[in-house]
């Protein structure tokens, strides 16, 4: 049976960036595209000074890139993996049998990532105190480990879609009080097959995003110096060039939002408050400026990398940029004006045919569904301000998380939204703000965790699509991540607990099972010699 990588297992996951202490890291095992923003907004964002914004919404704050701040649960086809930096062990829970095992990793195993594999369950954990990484492979009831050296200070992973390559790097956006001399330029390139030695290479200053070309020949590091290209075909991985993403040496790298196509051939750069998108041909270094006429508030790339969607909030316009044609014909884009609505953010459904448009810069209850093929759109009225919208893989329904912050002042809630426009959305009030969302790969189940640390209110909702039936479950401890283990037919909610706690929810029955005490669970001895 072919196993899915995490990117396929989790149709969508979303989490607020409130630092819940999750031990997992971004686990997207694709290249750069895929419509999922990489969270490049946070530390470098220009505090909302839309200098050339103009128009009616010039004073509105920037759009919040909520859906890009993943705290992806680390799940593989059958297992959920959880690292314990204190014990030095990684627990892996069989989501089918709920059997718990632990395995010794290195010193301080902390950052986990799922590794796509056609037959085995494979995860990779970064040991932050021993400066190495442990590859964990569960196969035929046995677990094997392989250790690779990595650069000190690494805190993030990038894994190629075929599961061969992994890069450990340092995401400076996770760190505070940085000195300018801290460039975090060492990245560790690991051939997980062991055919080539693990290699530390130097890329540009402060990388913000790492990924691989879909053919596995190159790795690309988006840095403040540009895009560093790492050739993986050499006997030992080596940086072969750096591609500038701006022709202005004074360009503020912190204002950039860089997306790279899955094949690694083009990069698209949006800058806060700027009305153009720069298209970079990575092979040649050629820069093409696409003038869109108004500040681009969001830029999303389709999973296939064949088009990008730029949102111009000041004019409530969506611009569809064909790729690669736009690189040679900078006017070859089409625009759709969303008449009567304010849109500043976009979420592209898998397949890239449907986009959800909304704004979270100001309280807005309107969600616009745009067909990128036909440029047709319709707007759905919801009953609370939108914070984020996540379409299911089949683009038939979406989950909308409502905004409870600031002036919005709304009661915590989420909505399940049929995207056809023929059926009403269902709003679900929650006793605590939604914290994380996962949608099953089959697009028929939605899991939403809620969390309020002040009132100690924790819970999880299981929504059924398309019926919009919702079941609620109270949790005993703060949720930190949710996900779906499709192979086991279960969703899970990892929770903050000293001994480790995870609640599994049967996607068919809604029945919950909680495991607490991973170390204890793994220390059940049955005499089988394990």
């Amino acid at each position: 049976m072919r196993k899915r990588g995490l990117a396929a297992t989790l149709a969508a996951a979303w989490a607020l960036s409130w630092g819940c202490g999750a031990a997992s890291d971004n686990a997207g095992a694709n290249g750069f595209g895929g419509g999922a923003d990489g969270g490049t907004n946070a530390p470098f964002a220009d505090g909302g000074t839309l200098a050339d914004g103009g128009g009616a919404f010039a004073d509105a704050p920037p759009e919040r890139e909520t859906e890009g701040d993943y705290q992806s649960p680390v799940a593989t086809g059958r297992f959920v993996w959880v690292a314990n930096p204190t014990s030095g062990r990684v627990a892996y829970v069989d989501a089918t049998t709920l059997e718990v095992h632990t395995v010794e990793a290195g010193n301080g195993p902390t950052y986990l990532v799922a590794v796509p594999d056609p037959k085995d369950d494979v995860a990779l954990v970064m040991n932050v105190l021993s400066y190495d990484a442990t590859l964990l492979r569960a196969s035929g009831g046995q677990l094997s480990t392989t250790t690779f050296p990595i650069a000190r200070g690494s805190n993030a992973w990038a894994v190629s879609a075929d599961g061969r390559w992994a890069i450990a790097w340092t995401d400076s956006t996770k760190l505070a009080k940085l000195d300018p001399t801290q460039g975090f330029q060492d990245v560790s390139v690991i051939d997980l097959t062991g055919q080539k030695p693990a290699t530390i290479v130097a890329v540009g200053y402060r990388p913000v995003k790492l990924g691989f070309s879909s053919d596995g020949a190159r790795a690309l590091a988006v840095t403040q110096d540009g895009i560093s290209v790492i050739d993986l075909t050499q006997p030992s991985p080596i940086v072969i060039k750096n591609v500038a993403v701006s022709d202005n040496p004074l360009d503020d790298p912190g204002s950039r939002d860089v997306s790279v196509t899955p094949d690694g051939k083009y990069a698209l750069i949006r800058r806060d408050g700027k009305s153009d998108v720069t298209v970079v041909a990575i092979d040649t270094g050629a820069l093409t400026k696409v003038q869109l006429g108004s500040a681009v508030s969001d830029l999303d790339l389709s999973t296939a990398g064949d088009r990008a969607l730029a949102i111009l909030r000041d004019t409530s316009t969506a611009a569809i940029l064909p790729i690669p044609a736009i690189a040679s014909s900078p006017t070859a884009f089409t625009t759709v004006t969303i008449t009567g609505q304010l849109v500043g953010s976009a979420s592209l459904a898998k397949g890239g045919k449907i986009a959800l448009l909304y704004t979270n810069a100001i309280p807005s209850e309107r969600l616009t569904v745009l067909s990128l093929d036909t440029s047709q759109f319709h707007t759905i009225r919801l009953y609370a301000p939108i914070l984020a919208a996540l379409p299911a893989d089949d683009a038939q329904n979406a989950v909308v998380v409502h905004d409870t912050s600031g002036d919005a002042g709304a009661h915590p809630a989420f909505s399940l939204v049929p995207l056809s426009g023929n059926l009403p959305a269902k709003i679900v009030g929650t006793p605590a703000p939604p914290q994380a969302v996962a949608i099953s790969p089959s697009s028929d189940r939605v899991v939403v965790s809620v969390r309020d640390d002040v009132t100690k209110t924790y819970g999880v909702y299981l929504g059924k699509l398309p019926s919009l039936e919702v079941d609620q479950l109270t949790l005993a401890s703060p949720p930190i991540a949710v996900g779906v283990v499709a192979g086991a037919g279960r969703a899970y909610v990892a929770q903050s607990h000293a001994e480790g706690r995870i609640t599994f929810i049967d996607l068919s029955t809604g029945k919950a099972r909680t495991l607490t005490g991973f170390e204890l669970g793994s220390r059940v001895v049955d005499g089988s010699g394990k």
Partner: protein, 530 residues
């Protein structure tokens, strides 16, 4: 101890034959008497002569004495919960110097209708005994040390449904991580994924083992499952203090649970017995769930509430009970009027038939007037239980004694003072005080009609008819050591009061019509049958 020569004041014949009498006549007499009550017999253990002396009651306060051989050097004696059988563990002759010397053994006296005895031989002397409340099994395990070198983790299992043979008993050494068994619990039949099972739960001083009794006599029995209670990350030693068992929904086979509290940790633990992973040696496996109840639990029980099964934990430190939802570990704290330490489920007696439990709470702090409380589970608006009703009593209730039918609605409440006990009526929720002039020892009659109260070491005795709580003062000649209300073959009942004087005496009363005037004293019971 005295020799029989010195104390056979009632046996003049023996003196005349002193020069040629068997050695048993010179054997010591152990005092106080080791007396045990069966349904229709009192059994005296006469270890120096290697005998069990059964005393049957006859009409007119006569008795019939029958001795049975018992293994040499009796280590432990116990009766089954239904008082049908007596079990005597003997060390045998250690070391064996000749073929005539005995092996360790378990002698079982079946008390009905006429006493019979059977003996099972063991390889090693063991001094602890656990008896299956359902009468099918018994288990012997190590106690205070019966031989120079002892394996404290060896457990000898007896299948009482068949006689002794080459495979019965069977011996098992449970795996140890440094602990040794402290307490053994036989479960009722549990519906497990692979079929109905009876289990033996072995609490050691630091972990828990679960042994499949139904497969224990196979030629290659499955090993026990061991659940360790610490994560191995520190030096803590968590000692189990109590286990409780629940089979869950009768229609399901994956929801049987074991609950455990510990003596020194604030977590309670539940083990859900689910299907075993492939290639396991057992066909079930426990999944572990820890729940912190905020203090060290003093008693636990599985209870049924309007919202389903819960593990109830009494936490005196919080003066609360905590209800644990075993599927999610969600807790609900129920503030109690006092810091009760013990509870007994009385649903069968006072329940409303609505499927929710009623618990009797007792053993609150001294001088707090805490008495007992009726905790009615269920749910009303705003609280996870229906009511807590206190019956304030002056003294601390130290023990609660069940009363058999037809007065099963009554409980005897033993206090920690010397001057009173109570008869609690669960139906009317009244507690009738009965004052005494000294520390009473209470015994209920198996027919549920009366209570016997006596003061050990004195001649004070009283019968209390439960129908009307009318006390009948009685008196014996010698001081009383213990009393037993036993059935007679003619349908009557006799009260046998044992005196540790001479070669052990007894005063017999007509239990249904007790009168000192019609009582009869019998002496030198241990001389009979020599």
């Amino acid at each position: 101890m005295r020799t029989r020569v010195a104390c056979t004041f009632g046996a003049a014949i023996a003196i005349a034959a002193c020069s040629s009498r068997p050695g048993k006549w010179d054997a010591k007499i152990d005092t106080p008497a080791k007396a045990y009550g069966l349904q229709s017999a009192v059994v005296l253990v006469d270890d120096p002569t290697h005998r069990l002396v059964t005393v049957l009651a006859r009409p007119d306060q006569q008795i019939h004495v029958t001795p049975f051989a018992v293994g040499h050097h009796v280590l432990r004696v116990a009766t089954s919960p239904d008082s049908a059988r007596l079990f005597a563990l003997a060390a045998g002759d250690v070391p064996r110097r000749s073929d005539a010397d005995e092996y360790p053994s378990l002698t079982i006296v079946d008390g009905t209708p006429e006493p019979t005895a059977a003996r099972y031989t063991m390889a090693e002397p063991l001094s602890n005994l656990a008896i299956d409340p359902l009468g099918r099994y018994a288990a012997a395990f190590a106690g205070d040390g019966a031989s120079f070198v002892e394996n404290p983790n060896e457990i000898v299992l007896f299948d009482l449904s068949r006689g002794p043979d080459a495979t019965n008993p069977t011996s098992r050494t449970i795996r140890s991580f440094g602990g040794k068994p402290v307490r053994l619990t036989f479960t009722p039949t549990l519906q497990l994924p692979a079929g109905p099972r009876r289990l033996l739960i072995v609490e050691t001083d630091q972990d828990v083992a679960i042994l499949d009794l139904d497969n224990a006599w196979k030629s290659a029995p499955p090993p026990e499952l061991t659940v360790r209670l610490t994560n191995g990350g520190d030096t803590r030693r968590i000692a189990p203090a109590q286990v409780v068992v629940d089979d869950g929904d009768p229609a399901k086979n994956d929801d049987a649970r074991i609950g455990l509290r510990t003596a020194n940790d604030t977590n309670v633990v539940t083990f859900q017995l689910a299907a075993a992973p492939p290639n396991s040696l057992n066909d079930f496996a426990p999944t572990v769930n820890l729940t912190d109840v905020g203090g060290i639990a003093s008693d636990i029980a599985f209870v049924r509430t309007d919202e389903g099964l819960r593990l109830a934990a009494l936490v005196p430190q919080l003066a609360s009970a905590v209800l644990v939802e075993p599927d999610t570990s969600v807790t609900a704290q129920v503030k109690l009027p006092s810091a009760y330490q013990r509870m007994s489920l009385v649903t069968d007696i006072v329940g409303d038939g609505g499927g929710t439990d009623v618990a009797l709470l007792w053993n609150g702090p001294s001088r707090a007037g805490s008495g007992v409380a009726f905790w009615t589970l269920g749910k009303t608006v705003g609280q996870p239980y229906r009511s807590v009703e206190v019956l304030p009593l002056v003294a601390t209730i130290a023990n609660v004694v069940d009363v058999p039918k037809p007065h099963g609605t009554l409980k005897l409440l033993q206090t920690d003072t010397n001057d009173a006990f109570y008869v609690l009526d669960l139906k009317s929720r009244t507690a009738a005080p009965l004052t005494t002039l000294g520390q009473p020892t209470l015994a209920t009659s198996p027919d549920g009609q009366r209570i016997w109260a006596f003061q050990r070491g004195t001649t004070n005795l009283a019968s209390l008819e439960l129908e009307n709580l009318h006390p009948i003062p009685l008196l014996t000649g010698p001081a009383i050591d213990s009393v037993f209300d036993i059935a007679r073959a003619d349908g009557g009942r006799s009260l046998v009061a044992i005196h540790s004087v001479g070669a052990i005496g007894a005063t017999v009363f007509d239990a249904k019509n007790p009168d000192t005037a019609t009582s009869r004293i019998h002496s030198s019971l241990l001389l009979q049958g020599l």
